[in-house]
Symmetry: C2
Subunit: 219 residues, 2 copies
């Protein structure tokens, strides 16, 4: 599996890179500034103990990746995809992991569109026809992903309107040990996943923890 990360220099990018590289996948960090991606990859490789993660521009990343995770902060996601729009090809699957959250007076709040549309649905509209978007990993805290010593012990719910793309992401997520991937159905489910992510952040704030994440019992 060739995994690319668009905007690959933050904590979420680091977490995905570490987990997928440790699981044996090829990982390529992309950034508008190749330098920044290189520094992030170096830090990952240090943690991994070998040169497993490559880096370059977003253009280079898209040229050598199949499944591309977008990990920029949520307000920049649509513009970041738009800027690379001409580089997407039908073999790509874009995985949106962004969480539309704002912090106000010490509380986490959903920053959803007026009409309730999820950020995933908004980002999907920026892709060329024929390139599917899948929402996943929204409910798993970045800091937990990035701590390789910690078993995830949670589920990732995967949603998207193209069943084959969804299935591919489910299989890819399943490479990560201690993580179970579940089929969440159509992209509209992202409205639920984004709210769940905000609730987990709010529970972390209330209980002074950092790792609240979901397991589905009974499946």
């Amino acid at each position: 599996v060739h995994i690319g990360i668009l905007g690959g220099t933050g904590m979420e990018a680091r977490g995905l890179a570490l987990r997928f590289a440790a699981a044996g996948a090829s990982v390529f960090l992309g950034s508008r500034q190749s330098e920044r991606a290189s520094r992030a990859a170096d830090a990952c490789n240090k943690a991994l103990g070998g040169p497993l993660v490559r880096a370059g521009s977003n253009r280079e990343m898209l040229a050598s990746s199949g499944i591309v995770f977008i990990t920029v902060p949520y307000p920049q996601a649509a513009a970041a995809v738009d800027a690379c729009r001409w580089l997407f090809r039908p073999h790509h699957i874009l995985v949106d992991v962004t969480v539309p959250v704002i912090f106000r007076e010490g509380h986490a709040e959903l920053a959803a569109a007026e009409d309730g549309t999820s950020n995933a649905e908004i980002v999907a509209r920026c892709l060329p026809d024929g390139v599917p978007l899948v929402a996943a990993f929204k409910t798993i805290p970045a800091a937990i992903l990035a701590d390789l010593e910690l078993p995830l012990n949670c589920d990732v719910i995967v949603s998207g309107d193209v069943a084959a793309a969804r299935q591919k992401v489910i299989e890819t997520a399943g490479l990560i040990s201690s993580l179970r991937a579940l089929d969440g159905g159509p992209l509209r489910t992202a409205r639920t996943l984004e709210r769940m992510a905000v609730l987990a952040i709010e529970l972390n704030l209330r209980y002074k923890k950092k790792g609240a994440r979901y397991r589905i019992e009974g499946l």
Copy 2:
């Protein structure tokens, strides 16, 4: 703890009555037709092995209960509360467990208000001033609650705008073994809980199971 159940003749009512009575709480099933409540209570008491659950009209139930669960189907919840409005007193806490779900072509869909308001918020508006509403138990399948042999092994997230009422419901839910109650903050969180409930139903349909429910890892 004196627990009442408004509309206490369905599976959700049975589940709550069995779990709370088994935990040592006093439980009173209310119905518009006392006869139906009595039959439901008889069935509970048979399962419990003793006369632990009482029954009567909704009026009798409200007169002898502090924490009142409303367990009618979601489209009838607001009218059911409205019909009993004059019987609510400031010591009451109404707990809304309803899930606004519709089934279409084999799929579960959220039946939310146009503007995204939760059913819990709509029901809350039917109560007299000073009677708090708390949303809880929405994400736990009724069939799982009603199977006393089965450990719940899940969390219940409790939300409501009156902190003292929320705390009281958290304590009460904590009486049930194998269930952890978490503080979900303001009533607005019910928008997330209702979506989570629909997602759990959808996962049950997709994976041909009946007991999908949530545990929060890392808290």
